[in-house]
Amino acid sequence: MKKTYKLEGLDCANCAAKIERAVNGLDGVTAATVNFMTAKLVIEAEEEKMAAIAAVAEKIVKKIEPDVILKKA
């Protein structure tokens, strides 16, 4: 399944790339992309792991860019 999140306050392109790479490395994620210009994170993952992945993704975002807030889009 596919889920889209908004990354509010994202204004560093390199951090966007870092977030994308970290989320892609999570177990159960088939594909994750961060669109820097629209400030959106799209995660494609196995349905049953989605909730857990979203929670970890939020932590990753906090870790890489503490000022960015992950929101449901």
């Binding site: 390199n14 400030a39 870790k63």
Partner: protein
């Protein structure tokens, strides 16, 4: 952002004051001023760097800038220390301003989202969110309002502006019975429209969705640059450490301070931001600029591929030709042209075949059914009918042969309807698909833009294909292809391009989805209102103009030129500064300006991608 701006300005003022102070009696006054300005400017960066280290993020830019500036303080290069942070912050501010501006300009560009719909409820009009309107509801669109949902006009007529969807500035007329698409603007009349699609399925939602998600599919250059950035920073930092430690240990009499100074310059240029930011900014601009011209590109990767197109394959019908069959020639024998057309139209009037509708359209008058007595349709051949008591035979060569009527047997290109009246040959009517007005110009423009081969595929007969190809200047034609053959043919054509070159296929998006998918770039024409085309293609030309394909290629080339300029400028300036710093030729000031200056130049350059009007 405003607060940050004022804080930096205040810090800069203190910094300026510090530079001007000369107190010979007290050597500590000036450094203290520098320290104050430093803390004002750099406070948040240092806090962030510290917090990120606790989070396990070591090599982030805050940390690097923090070390570079603190290091400068340690070796008593106070002005440099403050300047590193000052210009870093100015760069960051500029960057975030530029990103916001670009996000906003695209949002304005795509400002086609309707805010409300006037829904008819009995005698009243209720203003509703377009999302809540249901299929079958009647909505009223007043002059100046946006069409909120796709539907059919039930009442009224008006001129509508479709430019937001098509890039076409000429308004279009709509009347009762016409389909109308969301995202257009009603110019003068009042229209009552029956809603045919929910908001989420309406044209405006589809287009917005597409453009917004387009930059998610990343181009090769963007992938390259993020990968580059990933290794660039650690390598430069490692070099900086070696530069600080090794020479003083290995070279006799080397001065520790001067090598540390050089190492700190390295840290200043170790941020990859300039590179990383300008690439998505350029592609975003290019995709936005294209959509303003009525060309939807579904991803940065496709925008990039368009510039490398070597072969363009057209499916004839609906791309180069209108896909509407029209009477091209009337050649009577022993009667007036009008008479022959009238008889043919009457004879064929009961048929649903596209040929008969083109005859009726050419005739243009109402058909009086009482004049027709007895009709017999012979599938694959034609019609036998009695009109005004006369026995009419209208059909192809097979029918004429069967009825033993001698007919004109010269070469004719297109579909021919032969007509006999009371068993005597009365002439023929030639029906053919019409070539689009800008088709020849489109082919010319493609050739001018470096397309090496232009190929046409068609299900039509060989002579029709050859004639159109010759007329338009197409290099190769493959005719009499069934839909399945087209995919196979495309496979063969892949062999004709170089390994780096791309093959684009242009179709009408109606029944060529497999071919569109197989091509490197699938381009669908006339996407406006055709969901299938929007779905299947990588690039959608909203209007019916094939000349827009060359425009798309030009936009792609311009965007890529900007991207390559940015990449080469940023990398080369950084490398030169690194070398000069290592040799002790460039000062830390040079490094600071190289870093921030390059970023600002790259961002300004990428803004050019937004302007695609004159291509």
């Amino acid at each position: 952002m405003k607060k940050r701006f004022w804080r930096i300005l205040a810090g800069a003022a203190v910094f300026l004051a510090a530079l001007l102070i000369h107190d010979r009696n007290n050597v500590w006054v000036q450094p203290i001023f520098f320290l104050i300005s430093y803390l004002i400017i750099a406070g948040d960066v240092l806090i962030k760097a510290f917090r990120n280290i606790l989070n396990g993020q070591i090599f982030d830019e805050n940390f690097l800038m923090g070390i570079a500036s603190l290091g400068a303080f340690c070796i008593r290069q106070y002005p440099e220390g403050v300047a590193v942070m000052l210009f870093y912050q100015v760069g960051e501010l500029f960057q975030s301003y530029a990103v916001n501006k670009s996000r906003k300009s695209i949002a304005d560009l795509m400002d086609i989202r309707p805010d409300y719909a006037n829904v008819q409820r009995g005698a009243e009009l209720v203003r509703m969110d377009p999302d809540e309107v249901k299929i079958g509801d009647l909505i009223v669109i007043k002059a100046g309002e946006k069409v909120p949902l796709d539907g059919t006009v039930q009442e009224g007529s008006s001129m509508i502006d479709t430019s937001a969807l098509t890039g076409e500035s000429l308004p279009r007329e709509v009347e009762v019975g016409d389909d109308i698409l969301s995202g257009c603007i009603n110019i003068n009349g009042v229209l009552t429209v029956e809603v045919k699609k929910e908001f989420g399925e309406s044209t405006v939602s589809k287009i917005l969705d597409l453009v917004e998600n387009a930059s998610g599919k990343k181009s090769k250059s963007e992938q390259f640059i993020t990968k580059f950035a990933r290794y660039y920073t650690p390598i430069v930092v490692a070099l900086a450490v070696m530069l600080a430690i090794l020479p003083p240990l290995l070279i006799k009499g080397a001065n520790f301070g001067s090598w540390i100074y050089r190492a700190l310059s390295f840290l200043v240029v170790s941020c990859p931001c300039a590179l990383v930011i300008s690439i998505p900014l350029s592609f975003f601009g290019g995709i936005g600029g294209a959509s303003r011209r009525g060309i939807l590109v579904k991803g940065g990767n496709y925008l990039e591929a368009l510039a490398q197109t070597e072969i363009v394959v057209f499916d004839k019908t609906g791309t180069l030709t209108k896909g509407i069959f029209n009477v091209q020639e009337i050649q009577p024998q022993g009667m007036a042209k009008e008479m022959l057309l009238e008889l043919a139209a009457y004879a064929e009037s009961y048929s649903n075949h596209p040929i008969s509708s083109s005859l009726k359209r050419a005739y243009g008058k109402t058909i009086h059914n009482e004049r027709i007595t007895g009709v017999e349709e012979i599938p694959g051949q034609g019609v036998l009918a009695t009109v005004d008591g006369k026995k009419i035979i209208a059909g192809n060569v097979k029918l004429m042969n069967e009825k033993q009527i001698s007919y004109f047997s010269g070469e004719l290109i297109g579909t021919v309807v032969h007509i006999a009246v009371d068993d005597r040959y009365a002439g023929y009517i030639l029906i053919a698909d019409e070539v689009k007005e800008d088709a020849a110009q489109a082919i010319q423009a493609l050739k001018k833009n470096g397309i090496q081969k232009i190929i046409m595929l068609t299900g039509d007969s060989k002579n029709v294909g050859a004639k159109i190809a010759k007329e338009l200047g197409i290099d190769e034609v493959y005719a009499e292809l069934l839909p399945v053959d087209k995919v196979n043919k495309l496979e063969e054509l892949f062999a004709k391009k170089s390994s780096k070159g791309k093959l684009a296929f242009v179709g009408d998006g109606i029944n060529d989805a497999p071919v569109l998918a197989r091509a490197d770039i699938g381009i669908a024409m006339g996407g406006l209102g055709s969901d299938a085309a929007i779905e299947a293609a990588d690039v959608v030309i909203m209007t019916d103009e094939p000349s827009k394909i060359a425009t798309a290629i030009k936009i792609s080339k311009k965007t890529l030129k900007i991207v390559y300029q940015n990449i080469s400028m940023a990398i080369s300036v950084k490398v030169i500064v690194l070398i000069l710093s290592a040799l002790g030729i460039a000062t830390m000031w040079a490094a600071i300006f190289a870093d921030v200056g390059v970023m600002i130049l790259a961002v300004l350059n990428s803004f050019r991608a937004l302007n695609m009007r004159n291509l």
